[in-house]
């Protein structure tokens, strides 16, 4: 649908996809930071099991964040 000169479909899609993308970027990186910080605290407290779990969280979140970065680079380099 186009109103006057505006592609309202693209605009509406942008209105929910863009904040969602921002939340995904923030969520993945925040979980990476959270996992790394908690793992460090757990190691210092001698809680090896908790430390391993937090390291796993940090690794998964880090991979997810890296995937968003790679996707961003693909978007940047594949413009038409």
């Amino acid at each position: 649908m186009r109103l006057a000169a505006v592609d309202t479909d693209a605009l509406l899609e942008l209105a929910w996809v863009a904040p969602l993308a921002a939340v995904v970027v923030s969520l993945t990186f925040s979980l990476l930071v959270h996992g790394a910080a908690r793992a460090s605290d757990a190691r210092r407290g001698g809680r090896a099991g908790a430390a391993t779990a937090y390291v796993a969280l940090a690794v998964v979140a880090g991979l997810a964040f890296a995937a968003t970065v790679v996707f961003g680079v693909i978007v940047i380099t594949s413009k038409d």
Partner: protein, 366 residues
Amino acid sequence: MDSDVILVIVIATALAFDFTNGFHDTANAVATTVSTRAMSPRAAVGLAATLNFAGAFISLEVAATVANGIVDAGVINEMIVFGGLIGAIAWNLVTWYFGLPSSSSHALIGGVAGAAFVAEGPDAVLSDGLIEKVLIPALVAPVLAFAAAGLTILLTYRIVGRLRPGPVNRGYRLGQVVSGSMLALAHGTNDAQKTMGIIALALIAHGDLAAGADPPFWVVVSAATAIALGTYSGGWRIMKTMGSRIIKMDPAQGFAAQGGGAAVILTASHLGFPLSTTHTIAGSVMGAGAARRLSAVRWGVAGNIAIAWVLTVPCAGAIGAAAFGASRIFGEGALGPVLVSLCVLTVIAGAFARRLQRGPALTAEA
């Protein structure tokens, strides 16, 4: 002979615009990185300049016309482009002087539209294009970025709010290096192309390049170099506004502003709805501050920025129209552009000399 001189002037003016585009928009990529001490100012602008340079080579999808869809492509010639470039350069320098972030793309569009208006009349400017490519994106970008950054900072504080600040701040500073790099790369792929498009257009009009051909390698290298040098010289005044005058931010807010802004810009680009990097990052900086506390945002500064955005197209257009009109007084030859260029250089030199006499301007350390 005259056409050769005009070609050289248009190319030099396009590269000058590219340089101002670089230093004007440095703040978008690095202001929050510098203000949260994620990187030193010089390292931040060095990285941004390198990625701008690299970005210019990544995408060679050069726009065949300037202000495509906004000004009737059939009327654009070298003199109109020259007027438009003067308008854009002048507006970039005015907003830089006052430390106000504004869109270089909108300044160029305004400049070309103003010159075309004077040259060919009101029919040369396409109002639908102005609404679609300038007005709507200018409204959408800051609002969307404000909301996105606000959401992300609330989520961020929810996840890391109770952790020790030391490791958290170190983590977000590292994140800012990544998000700032993404913004600088995106800027290089977008904005250097505008200058390549202008030079390619001038070469086509002069008969040195076939229509639709890729720009010569020297055009790519010179456009990449100009924007990178501009970025490296750093628009510290705008950086200060973007990095610390709108809000005082911590590293998590800096990351929310940059990461949220980058997500909005790249999503919009992916959906074919390109937004101004400047409008998006300014909006996301405000959102990252307001979500924590509304009074954290200096709304007076935000208002000044909004006024600059509203004035960008009409003011750049008026200057572009004046530059075109002044050039035309001396006929169709090269004398007009030569004299206008000399006048502009004199005004710029005078402004910088006055600035130096009054002591150092705002610097990275200011």
